[in-house]
């Protein structure tokens, strides 16, 4: 009952709503307008007519790249999730000097820009790069037949290397908030470490894990430097590389915007989920507050 009143009050436009104006205007101008303009321009062909020509061309030439981008993104996000949960668990329970050093060390990649990561990966993963040479010295591979890593696996490796620390930061924060008494109670009832992770830690910090993964996912979809510098000339490559190609070689903003729309669609799935879970949380907490 009370909740309903508070909702109705929202529709009366009290004067302080105008305080929102600068923020909302900024959002509309800097985010909503470019987004809508980009969708609109994807529907205009190079003669200036309304058509789906750009979509036909994108479908014909770049569908494989859209699928590739989606594959790399999903794979990297899932592996990132797995590794970061494991590392966060270790940091949550570990109390040795090693875990303390690790807790400081793991944050480093967060501060390294993608372009630097790309340059590092390019020489680290190359056929005669550091990794292959090291493996060859250990006798695990022959340097004449090195691991070919400038492809799906190398790209995913780069993304995971860069993204795991960021995710750990958020997930570990979530784990820290869980009171020890829950874990101790479970332990005294005979729960194994695996049970504690899957039945207590993960469910209780589900929302922070998912928020972290949504951010990781959308950042991977939109990253240009790493794929460009690792697999820029390969087939297939990522959507971002194709966008740069259309603009730099053809000045073709129509197809470039269409590719952009495809990447919005990829991100939209997670954005919708994120919004829904935020709205749900507000709905859950609203009556209690009122």
């Amino acid at each position: 009952m009370e909740a309903r009143i508070s909702v109705r009050r929202g529709f009366l436009f009290p004067p302080y709503v105008f305080l929102l104006f600068p923020a909302v205007a900024f959002m509309l101008l800097m985010y909503a307008y470019p987004f809508l303009a980009s969708v609109a321009r994807s529907l205009i062909d190079n003669q200036g007519n309304l058509s789906f020509a750009n979509y036909a061309k994108t479908w014909d030439l770049y569908l494989k790249d859209v699928i590739f981008t989606f594959g790399v993104t999903i794979f990297s996000t899932l592996v990132t999730a797995l590794l970061s949960i494991l590392l966060a668990v270790y940091l949550r329970f570990g109390n040795s000097p090693i875990s303390r050093i690790l807790a400081g060390l793991y944050k480093l990649p967060i501060f390294i820009p993608f372009v630097v990561v790309a340059q590092m990966m390019r020489s680290f993963l190359a056929p005669h790069g550091l990794l292959n040479v090291a493996l060859a010295k250990l006798g695990l591979i022959s340097i004449d037949y090195p691991l070919q890593l400038l492809n799906f696996s190398g790209l995913s490796f780069g993304f995971i290397w860069k993204m795991v620390p960021f995710t750990v930061l958020i997930v570990h924060g979530g784990f820290q908030m869980i009171d020890n008494s829950y874990i101790e109670a479970a332990r005294s009832a005979g729960a194994t470490l695996f049970k504690v992770i899957t039945r207590i830690l993960i469910p209780m910090s589900k929302s922070s894990i998912l928020v972290a993964l949504v951010l990781v996912y959308s950042q991977i979809v939109g990253t240009f430097t790493l794929p460009y510098m690792l697999i820029g000339g390969k087939i297939p490559t990522t959507i971002t590389v194709d966008i740069a190609h259309r603009v730099n070689y053809f000045r073709d903003f129509g197809v470039a915007n269409t590719l952009g729309v495809f990447s919005y669609l990829l991100v939209l799935v997670t954005a919708l989920y994120y919004l829904r879970s935020t709205v749900k949380k507000i709905a859950e907490t609203a009556p209690a507050e009122a």
Partner: protein, 391 residues
């Protein structure tokens, strides 16, 4: 409160000082007519170094009232495009004079800029025009540009190879295909999205397969039926690609060659020599320009139509295209082929440099097998066909 007042006092003093400095500077400017020449350059970072550390200061030394401000926009067509957008925006703003005085751009820029009438015809007014013999100064990707451009240098793509592994380098695309069959994964290039050396190799492939270099790059006209006829050529390239290693960009090819990952690959001559000079490339590496040839391209000086300083801009270009600077900086320091006719440089370049630069790819090779990139429409079609037929 007190603190805030103090801050405003300081701000006031600061503004007054700034004002005085600016007004003072202007007064001084009026007496000696100081000119700041805005020079915008596309290209790799070496282009920035050239402007900022070499030709800018040297020009100011000769003309002390002119200082050159070099602005670098980035490599490849993207860099030229940023310059185009700047000049186009100035033209659309209907300003009386434009900011950019001189620009250094790639071929594709000229197609865009000539369509919009953004450039000044200046080349025939300056003293070094008589040294220009290159056909690239007359037309660029099929666009008539004579009088609007001065080539600063010419660069060429060739195949670089490792003589330890390649005893008899392929002299033609035919022989290259055979060589790749025998040495799978030892030829590397960067596709068409990773930089121009890969694009150049692909364009050379189409010239070889079709034998229509003249029509595609010189005479035209553009016909859609030609594009449809390329399918077998690209299907062959697709099969060829199965046995090659894809490298990560122009630099990626050079690195892979140096590390021994590949034994052969298409490179830009100037980058190849620069890598060697900087110790990033094994000096034993060699080059060969295969039949029927591979493309090269110049970079050009242009002057935007409404520059505020046309005379200084012309002087600047005249200075850089003079035989002395061409020999010392363009050829010797940066390892490009000169923009002006090479015969005017004889004697100004030490014999050993001349021999090094022209050892594997001779001037005869260059004139016989140095190709131009195709006309803009064919160029677009070649790039798009690559994406269409090579999966």
């Amino acid at each position: 409160m007190q603190k805030g007042k103090k801050f405003f006092d300081q701000l006031l003093v600061f503004l007054v000082v700034i004002g005085l400095v600016l007004v003072g500077g202007q007064k001084e400017g009026r007496t000696v007519e100081r000119v700041k020449l805005i020079y915008m350059t596309a290209g790799d970072v070496n282009m920035l170094a050239l402007g900022q550390n070499v030709i800018g200061p040297q020009f100011s030394k000769k003309y002390p009232h002119v200082s050159v401000m070099t602005i670098h926009t980035g490599p490849g067509n993207a860099g030229s495009q940023r310059i185009f957008e700047k000049v186009l925006a100035e033209s659309e703003s209907k300003k009386k004079t434009w900011d950019v005085d001189v620009a250094m751009i790639h071929q594709i820029f000229l197609k865009w800029a000539m369509e919009k009438n953004l450039l000044m015809p200046y080349a025939k007014d300056i003293g070094t025009w008589k040294y220009i013999t290159s056909p690239f100064a007359k037309s660029s990707l099929g666009v008539k540009v004579e009088g609007y451009v001065m080539p600063m240098f010419h660069s060429q793509t060739t195949l670089a190879y490792n003589p330890d592994h390649v005893k008899a380098p392929p002299k033609s695309y035919d022989e290259l295909v055979e060589w790749v069959k025998k040495n799978p994964k030892k030829f590397g290039y960067n596709g068409i999205k990773g930089g121009m050396s890969g694009v150049s190799f692909t364009v050379g492939w189409v010239y070889w397969k079709t034998g229509k270099y003249k029509k595609y790059a010189v005479t035209g006209p553009f016909e859609k039926s030609e594009v449809a006829s390329w399918e077998p050529a690209f299907k062959d390239l697709e099969a060829f690609n199965k046995n090659v290693t894809f490298t990560a960009g122009n630099v990626g090819t050079l690195d892979a060659l140096n590390r021994g990952e590949i034994w052969m690959g298409p490179v830009w001559v100037d980058m190849f020599f620069t890598f060697m000079n900087e110790g990033k490339m094994d000096p034993k590496m060699r080059m060969v320009l295969p039949e029927p040839g591979m493309p090269g391209q110049p970079m050009y000086f242009v002057i935007p139509r409404k520059t505020a300083h046309p005379e200084e801009a012309k002087k600047f270009i005249e200075f850089v295209t003079s035989p002395a600077i061409q020999a010392k900086e363009i050829v010797q320091r940066f390892n490009w082929y000169p923009g002006i006719d090479g015969s005017h440089l004889k004697g100004s370049i030490p014999q050993e440099i001349f021999d090094k630069i022209y050892a594997d790819v001779t001037p005869q090779d260059l004139s016989k097998k140095g190709r131009a990139f195709p006309l803009a429409n064919y160029f677009d079609a070649i790039l798009e066909s690559y994406e269409k037929w090579i999966r």
